[in-house]
């Protein structure tokens, strides 16, 4: 079963330094909370460009961090920029769930 975050991938970036890993985890959790909030704030159609840009950055950091499923969902969100709010809301719900899973996993491991 795949975990929400590939920790082995993460360790390649920290050279196995636990302190550095913890700092990156804290930074990542802070960022995904901010990104999720920003997406919620820009769900309206007039913010289409901003939505796409937030989703793009969110996808980049999730992918680089090794949160693969979250990365996939963010990519989807990025392409939903021109869609109606209901569609965006659907993806936001999925993102919300995945962010919680990631935070729980990182808190436990």
């Amino acid at each position: 079963m795949t975990t929400p975050v590939d920790k082995q991938h993460l360790r390649a970036f920290t050279h196995g330094d636990p302190k550095e890993e913890q700092e990156l985890i804290t930074l990542f959790i802070e960022q995904i909370r901010e990104n999720l909030l920003a997406l919620k704030e820009h769900i309206a159609s007039q913010h289409q460009e901003k939505w796409c840009s937030i989703a793009h950055r969110f996808a980049g950091s999730a992918g680089t961090f090794g949160a693969r499923q979250l990365h996939v969902l963010c990519r989807k969100a990025e392409h939903y920029g021109a869609h109606e709010e209901a569609k965006k809301q659907q993806i936001l719900t999925l993102l919300d769930q995945e962010v919680n899973q990631v935070i729980t996993f990182l808190g436990q491991s």
Partner: protein, 476 residues
């Protein structure tokens, strides 16, 4: 699989050996920090960071040499990667730029390549992909340096910056060399075998007004005695048995340029007379010719002998010695400029890897220690041969101690120990006091300046160690 190798730079202008610097321009703090960790801790680069393209461009504008490689994210606020790349190119056309792009924006990467990016990788970042891209960039940089070096050699434009150690162990000597290049003053280069006397002479020539004109090197010790005159000054057809055709000789080959007479001390006395005459009259007379030829040639000579001693022993003409020895330059042996050993070693590794079509290699810690401990009696030439052999014997990209298996056990044991030279540069024996002082310094260095351990190793009391060191200081 990551090799976790340390990356070192060896600039064309031979700045001190140091990890290569990668400048990262990435607006996302987390990704920038992760990338910096990967490059710094795992790959061994020195890392500089910029939060967007504008910051990166400002850093390069301020100091064009602040980075060896730039990694640019494409989507950034203030100034995106493509705009930054275009501006970077205005300052440094040679700076390798690696582009980071998302899978959905590969067309941007194509645009970046058109603007002069060397490569691109897609996000999410995969460490192995980044490592491969950087390896390729380093390979291209090595090849570019080698091509440029060969081109300068071919065009007679070798300069002092081509000499490894020009800004370290050889800085003083090179200052003399530069003075020599500004004038036509005859230079006599003295130094042990393998220190690079010919390269030094080439640099004098390459930085003089004669650059681009012929540089003719001749080893006086390698010419059979009966052919010295015809080799140097040429001969007419039929001038002697075996002279089946006319030859212009080395002096006339060097017309307008420089002739480098290596191992001048080996020149037979009879040829010394003719050389002296050529230098005095600035003309030569080929063997069997009925006329002489004016020559416009600069003379640089070299020897590993103590020529003044040869003069005293009547094996070298005093008048010729004075004419050649207007500016004596002594190139110190490698053991006296240890700071140059690793840069030289890395340079040799780079050159041999290119020559043998091998991937870039690095030196392990054990090999590095060995290189620093060895006294290199054969100087740079011996170091070159050593690196060449280790590369040939090695099977991995990092050169290991086991690759030195070609060294006979006894030789290895002897070479691993510290070496104290008994003779000074002029060939005379050092005094007991000097030798004792050098022994103490060597042991102290080996024990990282711990006097207690050094005294223990030498079997003397700590107080004796201090006393002898003080006496040595007073004497010197």
């Amino acid at each position: 699989m990551l090799s976790h190798s340390k990356s070192f730079t060896l600039y064309e202008n031979n700045l001190p050996i140091m990890p290569e610097t990668v400048l990262i321009a990435e607006d996302d703090l987390l990704q920038r920090r992760m990338l910096a960790g990967l490059l710094g801790k795992t790959f061994g680069y020195s890392v500089k960071q910029a939060g967007n393209g504008k910051e990166a461009v400002a850093m390069i504008t301020q100091d064009a040499l602040c980075a060896d490689i730039v990694i640019l994210d494409i989507q950034m606020p203030e100034m995106n990667g493509l705009e930054a790349l275009a501006l970077i190119r205005q300052h440094r056309t040679d700076l390798p730029v690696l582009i980071l792009t998302s899978e959905s924006n590969v067309e941007n990467a194509v645009q970046a390549m058109k603007l002069g990016a060397m490569d691109f990788i897609t996000k999410p970042l995969v460490p192995a992909h980044l490592e491969a891209a950087l390896e390729n960039i380093n390979k291209i940089r090595s090849l570019t340096r080698e091509i440029s070096r060969l081109k300068r050699h071919q065009e007679g434009e070798v300069g002092f910056k081509d000499i490894i150690g020009y800004n370290r162990g050889l800085s003083q000597v090179i200052a003399y060399g530069r003075k020599a290049a500004e004038t036509e003053i005859p230079v006599l280069i003295n130094g042990e075998t393998g220190v690079g006397k010919e390269l030094f002479a080439q640099a004098i020539h390459g930085e003089s007004e004669r650059a681009g004109k012929p540089f003719i090197a001749i080893n006086c010790g390698a010419i059979p005695e009966n052919l010295v005159e015809s080799t140097l000054f040429g001969h007419e057809k039929g001038a002697f048995t075996g002279a089946v055709s006319k030859a212009i000789g080395k002096f006339r080959e060097a017309e307008g340029g420089t002739i480098f007479l290596d191992e001048i001390g080996e020149l037979p006395l009879e040829a010394q007379v003719k050389l002296l005459r050529a230098l005095q009259q600035k003309e030569i007379e080929p063997v069997g010719a009925s006329r002489s030829f004016k020559i416009n040639v600069r003379i640089i000579s070299a020897t590993n002998q103590h020529l003044a001693t040869e003069v005293k022993a009547k094996r070298f003409r005093e008048d010729l010695f004075f004419r050649l020895n207007v500016l004596p330059i002594v190139i110190p042996p490698l053991r006296e400029r240890k700071d140059d050993i690793l840069p030289l070693a890395h340079y040799c590794v780079e050159r041999f890897c290119i020559a043998h079509h091998l991937p870039p290699h690095t030196l392990s810690e054990q090999i590095t220690h060995y290189l620093m401990d060895h006294s290199w009696p054969g100087n740079v030439r011996e170091l070159e041969n050593f690196i060449h052999r280790v590369l040939v014997f090695g099977e991995e990209d990092t050169m290991q101690a086991k690759d030195m298996s070609f060294l006979p056990l006894t030789e290895e044991k002897v070479l691993r120990g510290p070496v104290i030279e008994l003779c000074a540069l002029d060939g005379s024996f050092k005094t007991m006091d000097v030798i004792e002082s050098e022994v103490m310094q060597k042991v102290l260095d080996l024990h990282k300046q711990n006097v207690t351990q050094a005294a223990l190793a030498l079997g003397i009391a700590k107080s004796t160690f201090y006393r002898k060191r003080a006496e040595a200081k007073e004497t010197s």
